[in-house]
């Protein structure tokens, strides 16, 4: 099982971000390296790729406020 964590280097400041959208539904199969979620911080739109392949569990739905290091989802191998 691999956590999907908001990377520390995704943006420069200490501001909070927000999950703009999930590309896949909860329970969907995702592939490592592919875009899984979009985040926004202030006006910037940022991309988050799947850290592993497997079944996606969404822990923080769209519109959730997040910080760097927040675990927003999980990927379990199938």
């Amino acid at each position: 099982m691999t956590d999907i964590t908001v990377p520390e280097d995704l943006w420069d400041t200490d501001d909070e971000g927000v999950i703009f959208s999930w590309v896949y539904a909860d329970g969907a199969l995702v592939e490592q390296g592919r875009l899984v979620a979009e985040l926004t911080v202030e006006k910037a739109q940022l991309e988050l790729n799947a850290p592993a392949s497997g079944r996606l569990t969404i822990l923080a739905p769209a519109e959730t406020v997040v910080r760097k290091g927040t675990v927003i989802g999980r990927i379990e191998p199938v």
Partner: protein, 346 residues
């Protein structure tokens, strides 16, 4: 995203309109070296609305060209390139800025094929954002779709969700005419207008697909009243239909999808069934898309109407800056509900 080969994903993806449209552009550019993008801030910035993010890196500065602020010039240049066998994509971020280049569009790009008796084609796609609702005032909030639709020789497509954004973009890029692909800023999926509008996001196949011009889409079936819209007003109409359903009214939501050509058969078919119609548009009302929809009914068979039609559109005022006045000017679900109820009274 740019580096992913199509067809390798696991599950279905839910994309924003921005991403879906971009996917179509990238796919077509990979296949056809004659396609290039030209406009202000498209290369280094990736588009004021992020329409071309990553494209300069993939395709190079010769195919993703930053221009000076010279719209009439670069649209003319793109038209000439199209006449000579290229297939330009021209971005104008805000439709409001189109005023300065009407001559290049109206009198040249749109008419060249006709005036030359078909000798010259202008396979050019313009990519334009429109609409208000975020207090950007009168020079950055217009729709101007009725204005553009008035001139012959231009196809105008106005997708309302990500699925249609991709399919219609493929259709535009494969068409040999001047096409204008227009997305309302509030549903596009831009990072500066809140989080994504869920009804504008959609499952988007990895594969390429096209959507024919002039085919409306029924988003929701109903029997009591037809709510006609396109772009953002489809989403207002969907919300209105929910509210009407709670009051026992069954509303059908018809999305025009393309303004030119307009699917007049679909309008007649739906309104024949329901007998009542509300047409919603964020554009100016006078001589606009709403009038064209109702003219269709008036010409073909006004007897299908059981009640006078109602239009919900900008009441012919410049879009005001201040929030309460802007909200007054723009359509929303409540105004559509009120209009639908008005048609049901008679």
């Amino acid at each position: 995203m740019a580096q992913q080969a199509p067809g390798t994903g696991g599950s279905a993806r839910t994309l924003t309109m921005a991403r879906a449209g971009r996917e179509a552009v990238i796919a077509e550019m990979r296949k056809d070296p004659n396609i290039f993008v030209i406009g202000e801030d498209v290369a280094k910035l990736g588009g004021v609305f992020g329409t071309t993010v990553g494209m300069a890196e993939e395709f190079g500065a010769h195919r993703v060209i930053d221009t000076p602020i010279s719209e009439t010039g670069f649209i003319g240049i793109a038209t000439g390139a199209a006449m000579a066998g290229m297939r330009p994509i021209v971005e104008i971020a805000f439709v409001d800025f189109i005023g300065v280049c009407f001559n290049a569009i109206f009198n040249f790009a749109a008419k060249t094929h006709y005036m030359s008796g078909g000798q010259f084609k202008v396979p050019m796609t313009m990519m334009i954002g429109y609409g208000g609702g975020y207090n950007d005032a009168a020079q950055h909030s217009q729709c101007l779709i009725g204005t553009l639709a008035h001139v012959p020789g231009i196809r105008i497509v106005t997708p309302a969700d990500a699925h249609d954004a991709k399919g219609l973009m493929h259709s535009c890029l494969r068409d040999d005419n001047l096409t204008i692909w227009m997305v309302h800023k509030a549903i596009w999926g831009l990072g500066w207008l809140g989080t994504a509008i869920k009804t504008a996001m959609a499952t988007v196949p990895e594969e390429e697909y096209t959507i024919p011009f002039g085919k409306a889409r029924i988003w929701r079936e109903g029997t009591d009243v037809t709510l006609v819209g396109y772009g953002i007003t489809v989403h207002h109409a969907l919300q209105a239909a929910e509210k009407l359903a709670a009051d026992g009214v069954s509303a059908e939501v018809l999305d025009l999808r393309t303004i030119v050509p307009m699917d007049r058969e679909a309008i007649m078919k739906s309104v024949t069934k329901t007998g009542r119609v509300v047409v919603a548009d964020e554009d100016y009302m006078n001589c606009g898309v709403t009038a064209e929809v109702l003219a269709t009914i008036a010409e073909r068979n006004p007897r299908i109407l059981k009640a006078p039609a109602v239009r919900v559109a900008n009441p012919d005022i410049p879009v005001p800056f201040s929030r309460p006045m802007e909200n007054f000017a723009l359509p929303d679900a409540d105004k559509i509900v009120a209009a639908a109820k008005a048609t049901l009274k008679s």
